[in-house]
């Protein structure tokens, strides 16, 4: 899994920290032609030589050379249309051999084919207001989550974009982030400027809609047979927990790439909160 590059790092290089290890500049994405860079995402799989960056109304595909010391603009596309269109966010789909990228601009979601840099789908008015973030289901193709200023989190099947598959309306202000758990995609994390982080269990539209289907020989000789029986009951989507440790708007949430049950959230006041998926749920999912 390639490491995530903070989108803001290009914009504001001023806060060079003194105590931490100094960062070495490997490569420079020449963005002089395009002013504001909203988002930079690595190719999720493969050898990590491709980067997509979103700048204003342009979507740019960079190719890092062998040495990773030089970025070459491989291809680009731009949004046409009335008004000043600006990309706000983008994600790279881990499916289809990493040939798809989804972007958000204003209230619209768009899908792009990186091979031709052409639009493959478009969800107009995906949200009532600005779309803040989106994420692909890592285990289930075509499934996409988005969130925005209308306080909603919506789940889409990109094959049928007329209606969202599911809508969550748990936050009371803009939802800034939505993240699928990397391995258990029923776990969805959202962070909002209402200072809350919400962990939801979207089991009905996950890749394991009937719970973890365990083979008989897989059952360890542990004592937890009751929970195993439980998992056969129909599962319902629900909010697992609402974390209210933050005193100010939460602007980032993400899952640990090392431990699938760990996640962190960062709020405006600089508070970083690390939480764990409730143990009961963890066992419920695992066993």
């Amino acid at each position: 899994m390639p490491k995530e590059l903070e989108s803001g790092s290009h914009e504001s290089p001023d806060d060079s920290s003194s105590t931490a290890q100094t960062l070495e500049l490997l490569c420079h994405l020449d963005n002089t032609a395009h002013s504001n860079m909203a988002c930079v995402v690595w190719e999720p799989m493969g050898d990590g030589k491709k980067i997509i960056s979103l700048a204003d109304n342009h979507i740019l595909l960079w190719d890092l050379q062998e040495s990773s010391s030089q970025a070459v603009l491989a291809s680009s596309a731009s949004l046409g249309g009335k008004g000043q269109l600006k990309f706000t966010s983008g994600r790279w789909s881990p499916h289809h051999n990493c040939t798809q990228v989804a972007t958000a601009n204003d209230t619209t979601l768009r899908g792009w084919d990186t091979r031709t840099m052409s639009q493959i789908y478009c969800i107009e008015n995906a949200h009532g207001q600005l779309v803040r973030d989106l994420d692909f289901n890592p285990n289930k193709q075509y499934y996409l989550a988005s969130c925005g200023d209308d306080c909603k989190v919506k789940f889409w099947d990109t094959r049928n974009v007329t209606e969202p598959v599911k809508t969550l309306e748990e936050h009371s202000h803009w939802v800034w982030n939505v993240r699928y758990n990397h391995s258990h995609d029923q776990l969805v994390l959202t962070g909002s400027s209402d200072s809350r982080v919400i962990l939801s269990n979207m089991v009905s539209i996950s890749s394991e809609p009937f719970g973890h289907l365990v083979d008989d020989d897989d059952i360890s000789d542990q004592e937890d047979h009751r929970s195993e029986e439980k998992s056969k009951e129909p599962l319902q989507d629900n909010v697992i927990a609402t974390y209210e440790e933050h005193e100010d708007s939460v602007y980032a949430v993400d899952w640990s790439s090392a431990d699938p049950w760990l996640f962190a959230s960062l709020s405006y006041d600089g508070r970083l909160v690390i939480n764990r998926v409730p143990r009961a749920l963890k066992y419920h999912i695992l066993l």
Binding site: G128, H173, D269
Partner: protein
């Protein structure tokens, strides 16, 4: 005394007797009786012998004497006897008179019997003589009598024969004259005889002739029957005659019905013609009248005639009639339904109900006559169906009226802006909408109420007494409408792409108030009205008022919340644009409050006025007497931040935020999009919360120069000066605005705040 005198005055042949005391009564009496018998049997000899021992026959006091004078006797008695004796003699007298009466009657009977005996003897003799004579005469006349009898028989036979021989010509004549009845009677009389003697050639000929004529007769009757020009009664006569001619009844039944069918189909055709596609059909009342008098009347006649004529056919015949009625009836019903369907669009219920009433009433007669055909049931079903459809129609009408009202409101809301002057106020519009809907509901109730009017023939059917009232009117129409109204109103909340906001916010506000009014009063009023008009009294469960009220309240709440969101979004967008489009790094030193802030305050004021038209003020927290007091604290805090900010050591941000964090620890978390209460302050608080939170978030995404920060400072102070009055808790405004300034300061590389006094001056000038 008078009676004794009367008795005494009659035949003076009474044996003498003197009134004596009771001691000598018994022998005296016997003697007297003997005397009387003697007198009866041997009058002459008794007279001749006389009665030497008897008293002087000339003595007028002798009761039995011929010369008895009652006056003298009485005088004598009165003069001679004392009272006691007088009394005795009176009772004695009375007793004797009674005895005397009996004796007299018996004597007379005896006499009569004897006479009768004599006469009887004589009669017997005479009879014997007569018998004798009679026997002799009979014997003499015997022979002749026999001959006469024979002659009479021959005569009768001859007359019959003559009748038979004349029969063909008579029949012909009758047939020619059209006296079919007569002909049939003749034929009937001759039939048996001809049948019996058909082996005789002459009779055979007559029979053949008759058969030919009869066949012709039957032919003619049938002809007449078929022609159909004649009315049903004449036809019935034809059928009767044909039956008498021995035609097969079954065939006649068929033919009769076929013929009736022809006529009824004619009626149906004419009805169908009235339905006609293009020319406007006559009104439904006229139509059902035609149908009732033409078809149903005809059917009644046919049924009555049929039952009269073919009563002998038994159940099979009745079944045939029922099938006939069923088939034609169903065609008639189909026509009626088509006509009624045309009526569905119309608004006039009274005509329809009257038409249905006639239709239903009319069909009750044949219903009784043809119970098996089930026409009355079918008619009731049609009426019920129509009633249901009417309910549906009225529900649609109410919905359309509601939507119409909404359109009117939209237009009214759109118009004043064009005209540039204030149109009708929201309160007025609300009152208009409410009264319009209410009057529509009442009109619908009244219209539907016609179905249950007492004088309507079907109103006592179980459906109209129970289900129609409860499930149809109350649940289907009224509750259904209120629900659909709530749904329609709610649908404005989930309009796709809320941003587009095709719904004017004022409409949301108005609908919200409307629903709230429904919750508080109107629903229970309407339902009470309905329950009163339609005495709902059956076991079907009905929606309780409280449930509906809860729904209405929920709708009102959602609408108001949506209103807050929409208005908040409008102001948010303004603020967001103003923050996003400006280059805060290279801005000049603030001299004025930015126009957009003034605009925000103006808009907020406008919203305040708008909401104030429909919602009550609401409660606020106790306000500090001097709102400007806060000014200093804000800037003192921001100054503090300013003091720390330049250094920007790693620990600095923590310290910077410490204050605000501590502050937040003690303040409630702000739910930005939270449900609102039904009052103005709550609504405004919601809108301002949303707007300021947006401002905060937008400011955090920007980088400010020194003057940029100062501009934010000025703007926030300005907002604070004007917005506090709208909200429930001014602390909230302060908190959010502090946050904005603090956030801007954090995003400022050179945070040098403006002097509070300068800020105040600028704000007051602006």
């Amino acid at each position: 005394m008078a009676a004794a005198a009367a008795a005494g005055s009659s035949p003076g042949s009474r044996p003498g007797d003197s009134p004596e005391g009771p001691e000598g009564e018994a022998p005296e009496r016997r003697r007297k009786a003997h005397g009387m018998l003697k007198l009866y049997y041997g009058l002459s000899e008794g007279e001749a012998a006389g009665r030497p021992a008897g008293p002087d026959p000339l003595d007028p006091t002798d009761l039995n004497g011929a010369h008895f004078d009652p006056e003298v006797y009485l005088d004598k008695l009165r003069r001679e006897c004392p009272l006691a004796q007088l009394m005795d003699s009176e009772t004695d007298m009375v007793r004797r008179i009674r005895a005397l009466d009996a004796t007299y009657t018996i004597r007379k009977m005896k006499n009569d019997f004897r006479k009768m005996e004599d006469e009887m003897d004589r009669l017997a003799t005479n009879m014997a003589v007569i018998t004798d004579f009679s026997a002799r005469i009979s014997a003499t006349l015997q022979d002749r009598h026999e001959r006469i009898t024979k002659l009479a028989g021959v005569h009768a036979l001859l007359r019959k024969l003559q009748f038979l021989f004349e029969l063909p010509s008579r029949l012909t004549k009758c047939v020619e004259l059209g006296a079919y009845g007569q002909a049939v009677r003749y034929q009937g009389r001759a039939q048996a005889v001809l049948q019996q003697y058909q082996h005789l050639p002459s009779f055979r000929a007559i029979q053949d002739d008759c058969q030919v004529i009869t066949a012709r007769l039957a032919q003619q009757l049938r002809q007449r029957f078929r022609e159909g020009g004649s009315g049903a009664p004449e036809q019935a006569e034809c059928v009767e005659l044909l039956l008498a001619l021995g035609e097969p009844a079954e065939e006649l039944c068929e033919e009769f019905l076929a013929h009736a069918r022809g006529r009824l189909e004619e009626e149906l055709r004419s009805l169908e013609a009235e339905l006609g596609p293009s020319p406007p059909a006559p009104d439904v009342l006229e139509f059902t009248d035609h149908g009732g008098s033409g078809f149903v009347g005809g059917l009644c006649q046919v049924a009555a005639a049929y039952q009269e004529l073919f009563a002998a056919q038994g159940p099979a015949g009745a079944e045939r009639l029922a099938a006939f009625a069923r088939e034609l009836g169903s065609r008639y019903f189909a026509l009626v339904e088509r006509r009624l369907a045309q009526e569905q669009g119309g608004g006039d219920n009274s005509l329809l109900v009257r038409a249905l009433d006639r239709f239903h009433r009319r069909l009750r007669a044949p219903g009784a006559l043809l119970a098996a055909a089930g026409l009355a049931e079918a008619a009731t079903e049609i009426v019920e169906r129509v009633a249901r459809e009417r309910l549906g129609h009225h529900l649609q009408g109410l919905r359309a009226a509601f939507l119409g009202c909404l359109t009117d409101v939209r237009q009214a809301l759109a118009a004043p802006r064009v005209a540039g002057k204030e149109g009708p106020g929201l309160a007025e519009l609300l009152a208009n909408v409410a009264s319009s809907i209410l009057s529509h509901i009442k009109a619908s109730l009244a219209a539907v109420h016609l179905f249950t009017a007492k004088e309507v023939s079907f109103s006592n059917k179980p459906y109209f007494r129970g289900e129609f009232c409860s499930q149809g009117v109350r649940e289907g129409l009224i509750v259904g409408f209120i629900r659909s109204m709530c749904q329609t109103a709610q649908s404005f909340c989930d309009s796709p792409g809320e941003k587009g906001g095709a719904t004017p916010p004022a409409l949301l506000l108005l609908l919200s108030r409307l629903c709230l009014d429904y919750e508080t009063a109107t629903i229970s009023y309407i339902l009470t009205l309905t329950d009163e008009q339609f005495l709902v009294q059956d076991q079907f469960p009905v929606t309780p008022v409280s449930t509906l009220c809860a729904e209405a309240r929920e709708t009102a709440r959602r609408l108001l919340t949506h209103y807050v969101k929409v208005q908040g979004l409008v102001i948010s967008q303004m603020l967001r644009k103003s923050v996003e489009t400006r280059d805060w790094l290279s801005t000049l030193e603030p001299r004025n409050v930015r126009a957009v802030m003034k605009r925000v305050v103006e808009d907020t004021t406008a919203i305040d006025v708008q909401v104030g038209l429909l919602y009550e003020e609401g409660v606020r927290k106790a306000q500090s007497s001097d709102s400007s007091k806060r000014t200093f604290s804000v800037y003192s805090s921001s100054r503090q931040q300013g003091r720390y900010a330049p250094s920007y050591t790693p620990s600095a941000p923590m310290d910077t935020n410490l204050l605000s964090n501590i502050q937040k620890l003690f303040s409630e978390r702000i739910d930005v999009f939270s449900p609102v209460e039904f009052n103005k302050v709550s609504v405004l608080t919601g809108i301002i919360k949303i707007s300021l939170k947006t401002l905060l978030e937008c400011v955090r995404l920007r980088t400010f120069g020194r003057f940029g920060l100062q501009q934010v400072q000025v703007d926030c102070h300005f907002l604070q000066l004007y917005l506090w009055r709208f909200v429930a808790d001014e602390e909230l405004v302060h908190l959010l605005l502090d946050e904005v300034v603090a956030s801007a300061a954090l995003r400022c590389p050179d945070p040098v705040p403006m002097e509070p006094s300068v800020v105040e001056v600028i704000c007051e000038r602006g």
